[in-house]
């Protein structure tokens, strides 16, 4: 079991004391938890159906055709219609819908045409609908989930590659260091956004949407890991010259062991403080790409796409842009607060005497 050393514990304690960051962290963690089980909250499928003595839990199962519930169509049953029918019949059949009974893809068109409708509790469109009458709350919810998962995965990969390469450069030095420095200089001069746009535009659409999102992630990571390496390199250079590293080497520790067991924990502070900002930049990048129309393939829900729709309908449907904008600001503020708190609590100037 990984055990924190007293210093790390101290830092964590310090983090808890910075209330703004700590609560932001709790809110974000709570949000992630809620988003993880989002299908139970925002979904066009019922949570539970009792029909003719049978129980159904459609949320995570295969679809049930309309014929299973006495409708005459073979495509997926519309649970909202089913709910209304049960209410009309007054039979023992019942079902529970999620609080937001829409998914992110259906065109609902309550007024007979597809157009933005303002927020309405009666229709259960709590944030209104977008230009093709899709529920904004549902799109926002799943869009946020995708953005967060995407940015966390992005951060993990950027860190993994950045740390490995950076540490290796700092630790081995010499020709290896020189070579990689040049490679990174060249690589980081390739304009990131253009490359993503170009690469993503040639991805064949025959791939499934998750696969295409995966490729987008890979491309973004490919052009983003370089920033991390320089910090790691300098930190490793510094640590490498210290006595404890020399001691470990004399004891016969392998390079891998020295890097990962001895050096890495000592440069943790730098790593951790950057993390929230990497997440922020990832959310920003994916939103920007979507806004420009080069991001997640349609009809994937996304914050950028909502922002784009919103700005195009600023006068006629202000609820679209405000919902997306508020969500984005809220999300980025939370993460920035966490980032500040982490940075402060890990700041060596406050806790270290010897440096």
């Amino acid at each position: 079991m990984f055990k924190f050393n007293p210093q790390t514990l101290k830092k964590l304690h310090r983090f808890r004391e910075i209330k703004r960051g700590y609560y932001s962290f709790l809110i974000l963690a709570g949000m992630l938890l809620v988003l993880a089980f989002g299908e139970l909250l925002v979904n066009s499928r019922a949570i539970v159906v009792k029909y003719e003595g049978q129980w159904y839990f459609p949320t995570y199962t295969a679809f049930y055709p309309g014929t299973d519930f006495g409708f005459d169509y073979s495509y997926e049953v519309n649970y909202r219609d089913l709910r209304d029918r049960f209410a009309e019949e007054g039979s023992d059949n019942w079902l529970i819908m999620p609080p937001v009974p829409y998914n992110a893809f259906e065109n609902n068109g309550h007024g007979g045409v597809f157009r933005p409708t303002p927020p309405s509790a009666e229709n259960q469109h709590y944030l209104g609908t977008d230009t093709t009458s899709r529920d904004i709350l549902a799109r926002l919810f799943y869009g946020t989930r995708i953005a967060l998962v995407f940015s966390l995965a992005f951060t993990a990969w950027v860190y993994l590659i950045g740390i490995s390469v950076g540490c290796a450069m700092g630790y081995f030095g010499g020709v290896f260091d020189l070579l990689f420095q040049r490679i990174i200089e060249i690589w980081s001069n390739i304009p990131f956004l253009y490359m993503v746009i170009i690469v993503f535009s040639v991805i064949p659409s025959t791939l499934s949407i998750p696969a295409r999102i995966g490729i987008l992630l890979a491309v973004m990571v490919l052009f983003s890991w370089t920033g991390m390496t320089y910090n790691m390199r300098t930190e490793t250079y510094k640590e490498k010259a210290r006595d404890y590293v020399a001691a470990a080497r004399i004891l016969g520790a392998s390079d891998t062991r020295i890097v990962f067991r001895h050096i890495l924990p000592n440069v943790l502070a730098t790593l951790v403080t950057f993390m929230p900002f990497v997440v922020v930049s990832a959310i920003g990048a994916i939103t920007a790409l979507d806004f420009l129309g080069f991001g997640l393939p349609p009809p994937t829900p996304s914050l950028g796409e909502l922002l784009k729709q919103g700005t195009a309908n600023l006068r006629t449907a202000p609820w679209i842009v405000s919902a997306a904008f508020v969500t984005l600001v809220f999300l980025l503020t939370l993460i920035t607060f966490i980032g500040e708190a982490v940075r402060e609590s890990f700041d060596p100037k406050k806790f270290t005497v010897y440096r």
């Binding site: 295969a62 073979s74 597809f114 933005p116 230009t131």
Partner: protein, 658 residues
Amino acid sequence: MTEMMFRRLRLLCFAALSVGLLAACGGGDDAATPQQSAAPIDNSEEVQAYYAANPDFFSFKMPADIPQGLDWQNGSGLAEMGSPEAKKGGTEYRALQDFPRTLRIIGPDSNGGFRGMLLDDVTVPLGFRHREYFDFIPGLADAWARGEDGKTFYIKLDPRATYSDGVPVTVDDYMFMFWMFRSPYVTSPWYNNFYSTMFTNITRYDDYTMSISIPASKPDGEARVLGLRPMPRHFYKEVGEDFVDRYQWRFAPTTGPYVIEDGDLKKGRSITLTRIPDWWAKDKKHWRYRFNADKVRFTVIRDTEKIFEAFRRGDLDQSGLNLAEYWYEKLPDDAPEVAAGYIKKAVFYNQRPRPTYGLWINTARPLLDDQDIRLGINHASNWQLVIDKFFRGDYGRLRTEHDGFGEFTHPTLKAREFDIDKAQAYFAKAGFSQRGPDGILVNEAGQRLSFTLSSGYQSLKDVLTILKEEAAKAGLEFRIELLDGTASWKKVQEKQHDVHFSAFGVILEMYPRFWEHYHSDNAYDQAFLEDGSVNPERKIKTQTNNLESFADPEMDVMIERYRASDDKQEMIELAHNMSELHHEHGSFVPGFYQGFFRVGYWRWMQYPEEFSYKLAQGASELFVHWIDEDMKRETLEARKTGKTFEPSIKVYDRWKED
């Protein structure tokens, strides 16, 4: 003008113009600088040598050689286009989404959206199709006649005609035009080919009389000849190896009313057209009441939303409101500017060949080569819902790929309706009878019924998502792929698509074209063997407009007869038969057509009483509007003081189809 329109085909269709705002698109602003320093050259000798080397094409005869007893036509008796009430003067403000990449009308980058303002919409051809009667009215030609062979057209030029620099237009400019368009200097293979194969002869009788011949006699043969525009040889005498650079930013003398004066071309920012006060056709019937504004100023505004806001502010005079979103929500009838009568709204129903919005199914792809699957896709595409709910019932359902060609359009064929049961029956016939866990049909091999639905129309992406949602009900999955216009064009030209949503812009002509879209020559190299059976080793032919990879020997035979026929009745019959065959084949799902155009315009912008013409494509296409500067002052003043006028929302439905 036929050949221009050929070229414009692609542009129109893939730029989604018909649903967007009234804004042109073109190139970027990274244009090359003109090569002012290039030494002058003179190609006169080269041109004369070329004429001499091609005596069959370029003939020189005497006026006495003109056959006697020709039936000279001059389109007299057609009601005049434009309104006698039109006032000259004022400045019209328009927006451009992209600055043109060149002022050349031929060669690389010349096919942009501004080309209409340099050539197609403003210059004068020999004859011009009247937008009400379809017949020709005189332009540069005073009169024209078809020869006995049906292939040669005799033309008398209007001796008054001059270019904007005062040089008279003569037959020599037409001969020169053929030289120029056939020369390699212009780097336009399409022009080289068209002007070498679609015309067989030009004969000069005197400065103002000529004849032009085409290879075959066709019912609408005069359209090809009368659409020709001259090239001023005194201006293009420097055409040579460096044509593309040399003429990049030179404004050519024009037969039209508008010129670009020095200093009016601000690269990347704006272009101003100025009307010539003593234009040669200023008193000519059909032309005198058009082109009324003294200046037309184009400002580059890249974002469509910004263009619309600029219009609402009064910086632009007019804006297209074709999309329901704009007509009903962004500028509703009760919008303050409309209610106060400052901005007028108008819908004009037209009748003309309709752009072919629909799903183009590539039958060369696996599964899509199965007719049952294609018919299933037809029944699983809910266009009616798109029309009713997304376009708010304003648009109509396209019936065939050739709507709007009058008697050439099939009288009874209808697009297949959205019907889940029928769709499923067809899919089941093709082996897809079970639904997978996500509701999409699978066959016994476990293959999902899933196709890519691609498109280059960013502005119509909602249509794709609606179709996707509805198709899923029938157990069909569409994977949406939204590309930018160029990438999407490339994709379909490479025949890499499964199902593609797009449209070909259709030009105003007598009968539809079939060869481009359905002939097997455009689908495969050697589609069939000698004995008529399918060639097992045939390869897909790329870079053609046969987007369905349609290959059927029966169709080929009909197309060839249709192309060779000079009998209108026979052609009509063939067109109907071909439409039927195509319908049965099920490789095209007809989408929608917009049977009108609608605009919002400030009240100082005036239109004739009937607003526009039956065959018109857009409100400002014919330049019959005018700017009333007094009214503009009055309106701007009223906006400050709060004075209002009678609101005006007009529907011109004289040409409305059922």
